[in-house]
Subunit: 170 residues, 2 copies
């Protein structure tokens, strides 16, 4: 069995795949007469080159516990997709680069643990695993295209990977 070790999610580590949406470590400026800090433009919204229509949706994900098995990934070729927890629920973020054959490059497969105060924005075309909420049910904000154009590819991986909760390098 292939064990996939976890990394803690950070903007730098996730940069090849998209943006981490979080207050920690982000710049801000005061608004509303100084009563609010605005952490401006943490992630772009990409609705595709052909004028797709973005919208705000929500999701409720069921709880998963270790061990988590990863055997497929999906991608949205025609736009970005953001997942941001609104119940402070931790979740797994499993991503892979695109291979020369247009499938996930499993040699570059990475698994991050997002804390309940971190969201992610998958860049258009980023291979990623469906929502995997840790330990308890979680509610999320989704920002992506809502116009109904075909925008989801799925790929079965050549192997199955097991995430047992252990950290890379630990």
């Amino acid at each position: 069995m292939n064990i996939l070790k976890l990394e803690m999610l950070s903007k730098e580590a996730f940069a090849p795949f998209g943006e981490v949406i979080e207050i920690e470590g982000s710049d801000w400026h005061p608004i509303n007469g100084g009563t609010t800090r605005r952490y401006h433009h943490l992630a772009p919204i990409d609705a595709g080159p052909e004028g797709g229509r973005p919208g705000i949706s929500m999701a409720r994900g069921q709880a998963f516990s270790y061990p988590v098995f990863v055997s497929m990934l999906e991608r949205h070729p025609a736009g970005s997709q953001a997942w941001i927890p609104c119940t402070q629920t931790a979740f797994l973020v499993v991503v892979a680069p695109n291979g020369p054959d247009g499938r996930p490059d499993e040699t570059g497969l990475r698994a991050f643990r997002a804390s309940g105060s971190q969201g992610v924005n998958y860049r258009a075309g980023t291979w990623h695993h469906p929502l995997t909420t840790l330990d308890r049910q979680g509610d999320f904000i989704i920002v992506d295209r809502v116009d109904g154009a075909p925008n989801c590819d799925e790929a079965d991986l050549r192997a199955t990977y097991l995430i047992d909760g252990s950290l890379k390098g630990a």
Copy 2:
């Protein structure tokens, strides 16, 4: 002193001003092999007619306690603006219709109490009060234009209104 009584926030009551973003009472369909419920397209993202660029930002709002005084409103004429709590923090949503003079119509001023599991999306041009988080500091997701085009009008009200936390009709 003008007392402004609170209403509980609901999609129906807020419809003249924008959308309520919440799971409660919203339709869903299963995704991710049935492990996730998607509450699709709860709010549109309006980046203006001239091709503005929307993005995802965050905000941290300081705590307010009753009595809250309302003496000004603002609006974003060139795009929608969503505020969605990610720390389950209740907040006030104070809005007014646009008057014939292009200023807030204070006879239509309304104040809603949003629960910590409700967000709002102000339609372009909706007069609203800046973020007023109740009782404790709160973190929010903002979805609005991030391209820097002028997009904020402010208006001082003719009177000051006091919100003491009492409910309309109570």
